[in-house]
């Protein structure tokens, strides 16, 4: 059974600083997702990582995947207030071809001046 763990669970950042959120998963995962969730809103897809060594970047966010270490990271560069949200990683269990996701607990990110 796939298990996904994120850390830290809470992250308070100053604007302009850099930080990384870590996502460890327990067994083979076909692909790894990062989502953003604002309070009271749904999940917004940020990145889909398909293979070992994959790196994707969008604005101040960069995600990477190391399948050998079973680790994905979400790196935040020069944080701004608009990035305040909860970030989830989710793995897709190997062997289920239809996209069933197992989510981490989420990282609550607060960016302050």
């Amino acid at each position: 059974e796939l298990k996904v763990e994120q850390n830290p669970l809470f992250l308070s950042m100053q604007e302009g600083k850099n930080y990384t959120i870590y996502c460890n998963y327990s067994t083979t995962s076909d692909r790894l997702y990062w989502y953003r969730q604002d309070p009271g809103k749904s999940l917004e897809s940020l990145f889909v990582l398909l293979s070992n060594g994959a790196v994707k970047q969008e604005g101040r966010l960069m995600a990477s995947l190391d399948t050998k270490a079973r680790l994905s990271t979400l790196h935040i560069t020069a944080a701004v207030h608009d990035l305040s949200a909860t970030y989830f990683c989710a793995g897709e269990a190997g062997g289920t071809s239809y996209g069933k996701l197992t989510f981490g607990q989420g990282t609550i990110l607060t960016v302050h001046p």
Binding site: S42, L43, V48, F88, T96, S97, Y98, G99, F103, G106
Partner: protein
């Protein structure tokens, strides 16, 4: 519509009451998922439909939970005799994926509060 639509957005139920939560997926999407998100937690898988067939219901927490998608489009999640521990946000997601690699799109969820 352009996205996944869920209704109602908020539902307050007295303990023991039955509730029905509706999901309108993106038109043409084959796959439909229900997830339960407790306060401060990540979403947890409940069940999966491919068209009208419920292929995985391994995440349904008890036999009080029942989901259907009779015509392969709109889905309803029904919870009978609600309990306080059922209080959560129920998220629906759909994708065009059958065997190919396409991501799922989530609705805004229904927040269920059982009092």
């Amino acid at each position: 519509g352009a996205g996944v639509s869920q209704s109602p957005r908020y539902k307050v139920a007295k303990r023991g009451q039955d509730v029905a939560l509706r999901c309108d997926p993106i038109s043409g999407h084959v796959s439909l998922f229900w997830y339960q998100q407790a306060l401060g937690q990540g979403p947890e898988f409940l069940t999966y439909f491919q068209n009208e067939a419920q292929l995985d219901k391994s995440g349904l927490p008890s036999d009080r939970f029942f989901a259907e998608r009779p015509e392969g489009s709109v889905s309803t999640l029904k919870i009978q005799r609600t309990q306080k521990e059922d209080s959560a946000v129920y998220l629906c997601a759909s994708s065009s994926r059958r065997w190919a690699n396409t991501e799922a799109f989530f609705g805004q969820g229904t927040r269920l509060t059982v009092v």
